[in-house]
């Protein structure tokens, strides 16, 4: 009896959970993911133009929030064909071998000023790193947006040709704004 009770409760809980916080697809057209790298002191901002993702976030239960982003590494667009060809090479993104970068977040921890910290994992070029990502959540009738920026080391993901060592800095700033349309 007790077991059935528990099973029922779990089932009910997950139904109510899915009613209020179903997994929803992001709207890539209203989302941006850009990387800012620095060459000879010059900050260069370039977007990833192709990515998909799903977010499961019940504002009442931030600790249970989940998100997955799949980013097409070959969609990194510096705005110049020569640059784009260079950054696709094996020394950099190696887009032929690693066409996708994946970011998964599990759980939002409340931080200062109403923002959150997401515990995340970034898999890029066959390497995975744990990241703490600051996230600002804004919700209105149209949907929710999740934005923030973090600094990563490109070398931690073995990205970069030694010939460019003195030209391109190790630290790269990732800026993102992910929009999830509201359920209708």
């Amino acid at each position: 009896m007790k077991l059935i009770h528990a099973a029922l409760a779990t089932a009910l809980f997950s139904i109510s959970g899915s009613l209020f916080a179903a997994e929803r697809a992001i709207d890539p057209a209203k989302s941006t993911i850009t990387a800012v790298f620095t060459q000879i002191g010059v900050p260069v901002e370039a977007p990833f133009t192709k990515f998909t993702g799903r977010v499961n976030h019940d504002p009442a239960k931030p600790a249970d929030a989940k998100a997955v982003l799949d980013i097409d590494t070959a969609s990194f667009d510096i705005g110049d064909d020569d640059y784009n060809a260079e950054v696709r090479k094996p020394e950099w993104f190696d887009t032929a071998k690693y066409p996708k970068a994946t970011f998964t977040a599990t759980g939002l921890t409340p931080a200062a000023n109403g923002s959150f910290t997401a515990a995340g994992k970034l898999s890029l070029k066959g390497r995975t790193a744990e990241l703490k990502v600051p996230v600002t959540v804004k919700a209105d009738a149209a949907g929710s947006s999740y934005s923030g920026k973090l600094i990563i080391s490109r070398k931690a993901f073995s990205i970069g040709d030694p010939a460019w060592e003195d030209t391109v800095e190790d630290t790269v700033t990732i800026q993102f704004r992910i929009f999830v349309p509201a359920a209708r």
């Binding site: 000879i40 900050p43 705005g79």
Partner: protein, 193 residues
């Protein structure tokens, strides 16, 4: 002070220094510009682009100084015995050169901004110059052409300018070139100091 300078038949040491600094930088910057654009993408190419931009921004700063200096310290009057057309041609050529030493670095700065690459003077982050326009591929393409046309105009004018100076020196055998040369001695120092 400025009256004394105007009466002198030589440019001031400051004017001479600015003239030759700018001349060196524009010849160097022009040569770099011609060479670097044909290179395949490499760290060296980006270094050349950086040096090109730094020299251009230095020209812009020196040009501003030079215009202020010229304003407050009039150039020595042209040597007598020249035809009127020649004086006028020289006047307008000099005016155009002044315009170009400002317009060319500015067009380069605009082009860099439109291409999405801020100009960071000497690669020092605190010396990052503001973007003059937002990133815009179409605008960048037009500005590239403007930058090139202005540069070839400059190259033509500099050729005429230098050719005229040599003609004054070798054919007319007057002191026009000498008064802009750093090592030429002032013939009548007694009068001006």
């Amino acid at each position: 002070m400025s009256n004394l300078r105007a009466a002198s038949d030589r440019y001031t040491a400051t004017a001479i220094t600015l003239h030759w600094l700018i001349a060196g930088l524009i010849v160097g910057g022009f040569a770099m510009g011609l060479y670097m654009t044909g290179l395949k993408l490499s760290p060296d190419k980006l270094k050349l682009y950086s040096w090109h931009k730094w020299s251009g921004m230095t020209v812009l700063a020196l040009a501003a100084l030079r215009i202020v200096w010229r304003w407050t310290h009039p150039a020595p009057p042209p040597l007598p015995g020249q035809p009127r057309w020649q004086l006028q041609a020289a006047h307008y050529a000099h005016l155009a050169l002044y315009v170009l030493i400002v317009a060319i670095p500015l067009s380069g700065w605009l082009y860099s901004s439109a291409s999405g690459y801020p100009v960071v003077y000497f690669g020092i982050k605190a010396l990052q110059l503001p973007d003059l326009v937002a990133k815009n591929k179409e605008l960048a393409k037009s500005l590239k052409e403007v930058h090139e046309i202005l540069n070839w105009t400059m190259a033509a004018l500099v050729t005429v300018h230098a050719g005229a100076a040599v003609k004054h020196h070798l054919i007319d055998r007057d002191g026009t070139l000498a008064r802009m040369l750093p090592w030429a001695r002032r013939p009548n120092t007694a009068k001006s100091t």
